[in-house]
Symmetry: C2
């Protein structure tokens, strides 16, 4: 089957990330989608060619956006130019031309989504927008499909990374708002004009979309209450902590007997909640369904590659719908049956991890030296040793080792040798350690 | 369009939950799926009729499971009888009869999935199994679809609620393994024979599935290294905490240059990681993709209604594929365009929440009494008051109030009245408080 042809509008940060992901993972993606996906056309006014990995794989680069949208070869348009006016025109034109559209443009969807979706519906094409909410987190898919059995009762999300970075720094480091904002701008997390982030407008765009998907109401950005984080002072962060809370900038939507709440504002959350511990630029959305209860979705809410992850997932969705049997749209094991891999599963002896060891040693000089030299002989580096007090009525002391990463077979060898020492009694307790980074 | 007809095999805990969710949310689900979904047939050897909400809505209840599977009226079979032998026979027969199958049976998929999927593929039907991994969390969907752009590098999950409950209690309350296990059995979290949970077999079934979906390898349960939590002692939990870690029972799969790791075992995780803070019977899966980075999915991993949430989501997926245009399989805003709701969005004055208030008061007797009586007059109950030391060089003291939930319009009124007091200077700082329960 011929590759499917994408027309990409915009080669900025997210556009560049999309080129990079689609070209780097072209084989893996084709194994999943059942068809190769190529960017046959890209249009951008100006771009930094050196910064975009895979740019040479694009068929044709032009500055004529409408030329791409009107090209009969292109089957899917990815709109990444942002803004409302030109972007809206291009999306509507793409739909009119019978093309599917994928966009990351939250402002466009929140403000003009009703009109755009109605046009798409009429024309029988899809406008996909996973990347518009919470970046790489597949929250639209989770809510639209994964929770389809539920009456959703409410959703609450940390959906602006810049705001969360600022509040996290204010709490962790006792810094002031202005100070952290300046750093966020220097790090590229915040725009030169930070209004959209710190005044909550960006979060309100996303919440508008979340609310519509949760409750099946039209998009109503103008009715979304929006309050930013500029009024939060260091003392409030401290007071909240004293009361057992953290301050997070949340978008909250809830169905009540009277109607739907749609509101974006700083919020005190009990510190033991998982979402209260989502820090830095990360995003998370907590969704409460009547059957499933609370579910939480966490990940990077912005950035070139995470946003591209969502954009390309949308493209794969469209390609699967166009390419495979409707009833086998998604392969059972994610990859097409003829594209499975025979890469072997490793025996546990071959895996690599760090270890916690607890052993019971006679409390006399030289014992630890014997153990550490056995570990050294098996190429195991020690991260920490803790000797615990002797257990009452015993001449043995528990000793804890934390090791660096090593192959399990080395550790098995070392443990056999340690257990053979007559100064060590019983078995060595071994628990594996993972940093999950 | 006629309702789609489901044949349900099994009316135990999860079967009962499925009847309850499908009947209670029948309208909401139809608004999403574009078609009404009814359980036309159910088969069970015995069941507790009084315990199942909505049982009277089922067309026909029989004890003849093959009768249901062979009934030409039934389009989708939900298999919830468990085990390998009869369940496998029923699923293969359903496929042979051209019916789609939805199952929550992790053991069946982990052990016989390759054969089952191959039969389904040949026959052009779907076998959906979201409920088999991590209960209500849409993790299969997230990995198969939401992260389709990524080369997945590793995944790690807390995928057995019983084990996580036991380890959480051992840490939080200093209890011993045997003691907590006994309670878990009394609470119904653990089976009378807890082997599958505490020896890691249940987690290994789920990890086998996660690994195949992450890396496109055939299901290989026999190659999954499996270690339970029975060896974990209270002292290890304490030592781990001392070193800055928590012990969690994880399923881990990772792609390395040599092959795929598939392993289930207790694991020390740095305590600041979000997944280290997933406690009690809750599940969470952390997935690392090369484009998106880390993403985490959290929710109830077991229980009648959460599992039913995943089962019914799978049913909706099948119904959407059978019913709607392939290119508009999922409605843009989750609900069918002709099934949108006109429920109003509330003005911020109409919402209800709790509040944190910070005000700057003259430090003299009677001031607090004035404020509390204003709050009382607006029907606002106070949860906590903290008076902070005076700010240097000022005669004002910051006073913090935490209130109970109240309508925002009452709070606006109270704040206007408080700000009018001549003992209060400047504006009252108001931050909303949500428990997110």
């Amino acid at each position: 089957m011929d590759p499917i042809k994408i027309g990409l509008l915009g080669l900025g940060t997210v556009g560049g990330g999309t080129v990079s992901v689609l070209t780097r993972n072209i084989d893996e993606i084709a194994r999943r989608a059942g068809r190769e996906i190529i960017i046959s056309h890209a249009a951008a006014k100006d771009y930094n060619a050196d910064a975009i990995e895979g740019l040479d794989k694009i068929g044709k680069i032009t500055d004529d956006v409408f030329g791409v949208v009107n090209d009969p070869d292109v089957e899917i348009i990815i709109e990444l130019i942002g803004g409302y006016t030109l972007a809206k025109e291009l999306v509507l034109k793409s739909i009119e031309n019978g093309k599917h559209v994928v966009t990351a443009n939250k402002a466009l969807i929140a403000l003009h989504g009703n009109e755009i979706f109605s046009a798409a519906q009429e024309k029988g094409v899809t406008v996909a927008f996973e990347a518009a909410v919470a970046g790489g987190i597949p929250i639209i898919k989770a809510m639209r499909e994964g929770l389809a059995a539920n009456q959703i009762q409410w959703a609450a999300g940390i959906i602006n990374g810049t705001g969360n970075f600022i509040l996290s720094e204010m709490r962790d480091k006792g810094r002031n708002f202005d100070d952290v904002l300046e750093e966020a701008q220097a790090l590229g997390y915040a725009e030169a004009d930070p209004t959209f982030d710190v005044e909550g407008i960006d979060a309100a765009h996303k919440l508008t979309i979340i609310g519509s998907i949760a409750f099946g109401i039209p998009l109503q950005f103008d009715k979304t209450y929006t309050e930013g984080i500029t009024q939060i002072e260091q003392q409030d962060v401290v007071n909240a902590a004293e009361l057992g809370y953290r301050i997070k900038h949340l978008g909250i939507t809830r169905k009540t007997d009277k109607g739907i709440e749609l509101r974006v504002h700083p919020t005190l959350i009990p510190e033991r909640r998982l979402i209260a511990n989502v820090d830095g630029v990360m995003n998370a959305v907590l969704v409460y369904g009547d059957a499933v209860g609370p579910t939480l979705y966490y990940g990077a809410g912005a950035g070139a590659q995470p946003t591209a992850s969502a954009i390309v997932a949308d493209v794969v969705d469209v390609v699967r719908a166009l390419t495979t049997d409707p009833e086998n749209r998604v392969p059972h094991l994610a990859f097409q049956p003829d594209a499975m891999s025979d890469i072997p599963v490793l025996d546990i002896e071959e895996i690599e991890t760090a270890y916690y060891l607890r052993l019971s040693a006679v409390d006399r000089p030289g014992v630890l030296a014997n153990v550490t030299s056995i570990l050294g002989a098996s190429n195991i580096s020690i991260e920490a040793i803790i000797q615990k007090p002797a257990i009452e009525g015993s001449s043995q002391v528990p000793v804890i080792f934390l090791t660096q990463r090593v192959q399990e077979k080395n550790m098995n060898e070392a443990i056999r040798n340690i257990e053979a020492l007559d100064t060590i009694s019983g078995q060595v307790v071994r628990i594996r350690v993972e940093t999950l980074k």
